[in-house]
């Protein structure tokens, strides 16, 4: 029986500093055969290891079309992710995956898409944006709402002009002090009054802090969206990625296996006491 908990080795090919505490790492499997075999769906994650420090689930932030390498965008805030901040080109790390279900593109095909992201939550949505840009004709209207603490914290800024050619974008920050900022200010939910998206024939993809997603679902339900149209991607502690370590359970669901993307109607009737703020209050 093979030991599915031993990672494959990957080498850091490029490090791009998105902002003060977040970097995007381009990784490549050292094994040529593994490079050929490895595929993923937008919204899936890998378990990344620094040997001697630990392992954590991190979303894949690159296009699934790129079969040579893949990227992870990591905010250096925990004991392991701070070590990621020290990685240089040529360093070695461990990768297992991909795990999880990914964004619901089967259900979204032929429909309008509303993407709502907060902070680092844009990282798992970036493969979805690439997916949409590559086959733009499969979807109706596509709108991206993105909020961050301040303009400097916004991820993938150099790509916005490319994205904006194919989809509508509304950006907002909590605080623009000290920045040259001509977009919106306030919470991402404040953009609902300005967006063009309507409930009819629209699928919503959202990722961000859970309290943000709670307000996103509330705000959209109040605007006539149905909970089955809303998809959220959850973060939980994980130690295996394969439905064994039990850390990521949300009610009867395993976030690593049944998620991380959930239709909101799966979560909304579970008690908040047990599954967290996205549950029934």
């Amino acid at each position: 029986m093979s030991n599915l908990l031993i990672p494959d080795s990957a080498i850091v090919r490029e490090v791009f500093h998105e902002n003060d505490d977040t970097s995007t790492f381009t990784l490549q499997f050292t094994d040529a055969q593994k490079r050929l075999e490895y595929t993923f769906r937008p919204g899936q994650f890998n378990m990344l290891s620094i040997f001697g420090v630990g392992e954590a689930p991190i979303s894949i932030s690159s296009s699934h079309d790129n079969r040579e390498n893949f990227t992870h965008t990591i905010r250096h805030v925990g004991s392991l992710t701070r070590m990621f901040g020290k990685l240089k080109v040529g360093d070695l790390l461990g990768v297992r995956g991909p795990y999880g279900n990914g964004w619901p593109f089967e259900q979204a095909q032929g429909k309008n898409l509303l993407i709502v992201a907060g902070g680092i939550g844009l990282a798992p949505l970036r493969p979805a944006i690439y997916y949409i840009l590559r086959q733009r004709e499969l979807f109706g209207k596509v709108e991206l709402l993105y909020g961050a603490k301040n303009p400097g914290e916004m991820l993938f800024r150099h790509e916005y002009s490319k994205w904006a050619a194919h989809l509508s974008m509304l950006l907002t920050v909590d605080d623009a002090a000290g920045f040259d900022w001509n977009h919106n200010q306030g919470l991402v939910t404040g953009l609902f009054d300005k967006m063009e998206s309507v409930p009819e024939n629209t699928v919503v993809l959202s990722c961000g802090p859970e309290i943000m997603m709670k307000h996103v679902t509330k705000g959209l339900l109040a605007r006539g969206f149905q909970s089955g149209q809303l998809y959220v991607s959850l973060e939980r502690k994980m130690h295996c990625g394969v439905k064994k370590c039990g850390r990521c359970q949300v009610g009867s669901k395993f976030v690593c296996h049944d998620g991380p993307v959930f239709a909101y109607d799966v979560l909304e009737n579970e008690p908040a006491e047990i599954i967290g703020v996205l549950g029934r209050e």
Binding site: S9, S49, G52, V53, H239, K243, C245, H257, G276
Partner: protein
């Protein structure tokens, strides 16, 4: 081992073992396999590898830790890694210029063994854990160990101190999941084989044929044990009661009493959660990735970077355990998460009792 026309095979593997010969049979098993069985340790019982058949506690109260610990060990090394130029050939290595990192799989070698004297509650817990560890992407540690472990189970002919297995349909008599099943009668054990591997074990001792009335005696004893169990749990509509009573005052009461120590989860035969961490040697050249039983009752269990905790309050954690045992595990795996062994009740320092919680929810 045993020819197909052997009388024991023909008798469908039901035989009799005089009580005085039990340890002889154990000694015979020990000739062929490591035998892990309950032994007395201080005033409590534990599963341990026998060095001498005389150590066997044949009439024991539930062990401190469940028999699960033999299959999902409390602490195990997942793999080790070493950074160096040259390394043993059997490892999996990656070279990067001057640097080379090699892995050694610790999930590879598993020895065949006998788990002796396991109670029906613990055997039923294996059926739950099989769903967790051996479906979809199988866990090499648990599943290989499970495949290589022969189960000699032992029916409970006396009630234990806090069990309620009868109400969870997990005891005191075992229906399936054993290679051999022992039932202690007046002065002999009824020994029943439940698998070909079990029938083969019968060749290791000169058993006598079982008299037909032994099966009747077994049924009567088990029925009597069922009636005399110290605890009962309300099972009718329990799922609905839990779903409808998330805000019941009983949870507030648990929060006040629970110490958040995690003992209930450490002694639980169906708890499967684990933590993972790396350890480096002092030279920073090699290290191990280990995993260790963990507990949803401990505060750090659901905490992520930046300190956010998805189950921070003691109430959320106390409530989660009971919901998982009595509701979610059934939904996840189609098998009850509570096998009624009563260990969590007996071990709790502040007498939290999930059968009481169920009764309170049911208005009893």
């Amino acid at each position: 081992m045993l020819q197909e026309d052997h009388p024991l095979v023909k008798s469908a593997g039901t035989v009799s073992l005089p009580a005085a010969e039990l340890k002889e049979f154990v000694a015979a098993l020990m000739q062929k396999f490591p035998v892990i069985a309950p032994i007395l340790k201080g005033r409590e019982y534990v599963f341990a590898q026998l060095e001498d058949a005389a150590q066997l506690a044949d009439d024991y109260q539930p062990t401190i830790l469940p028999a699960k610990k033999v299959l999902q060990q409390p602490l195990e090394t997942v793999f080790s890694f070493v950074r160096q130029e040259a390394f043993a050939e059997d490892g999996k290595c990656t070279s990067l210029g001057e640097e080379r990192i090699c892995f050694v799989d610790h999930g590879a070698a598993v020895q065949k063994k006998v788990l002796f004297g396991v109670r029906p509650c613990d055997v039923n817990s294996f059926n739950v854990l099989d769903e967790v560890f051996c479906k979809d992407l199988p866990d090499p540690f648990y599943c290989q160990s499970r495949q290589e472990t022969l189960i000699v189970a032992q029916n409970c002919v006396k009630p234990c101190r806090s069990g309620f297995c009868y109400y969870q349909q997990t005891g005191p008599g075992l229906q399936r999941g054993y290679d051999l099943l022992l039932t202690e009668l007046d002065n002999a054990y009824l020994v029943e084989a439940g698998s070909d591997a079990g029938r083969e074990l019968l060749a290791l001792h000169p058993f006598a044929a079982a008299a037909p009335e032994m099966s009747l005696a077994r049924d009567e004893l088990l029925a009597a044990t069922s009636r005399r169990l110290p605890k009962h749990i309300l099972t009718r509509n329990l799922a609905e009661l839990l779903e409808e009573n998330v805000d019941h005052p009983v949870w507030e009461d648990l929060q006040r009493r629970c110490l958040g120590c995690g003992t209930c989860t450490m002694v639980c035969p169906t708890c499967f959660c684990y933590n993972v961490y790396d350890k480096l040697d002092l030279g920073l050249e090699s290290g191990v990735r280990q995993r260790e039983w963990d507990s949803c009752k401990l505060m750090e269990f659901s905490q992520v970077a930046l300190g956010h905790n998805f189950r921070k309050g003691r109430q959320a954690r106390a409530q989660w355990r009971i919901y998982h045992k009595l509701l979610y595990q059934q939904r996840q795996f189609g098998k009850t998460g509570c096998v009624g062994c009563g260990r969590c009740i007996y071990s709790c320092m502040v007498n939290i009792d999930l059968t009481d919680v169920a009764s309170t929810l049911g208005g009893e």
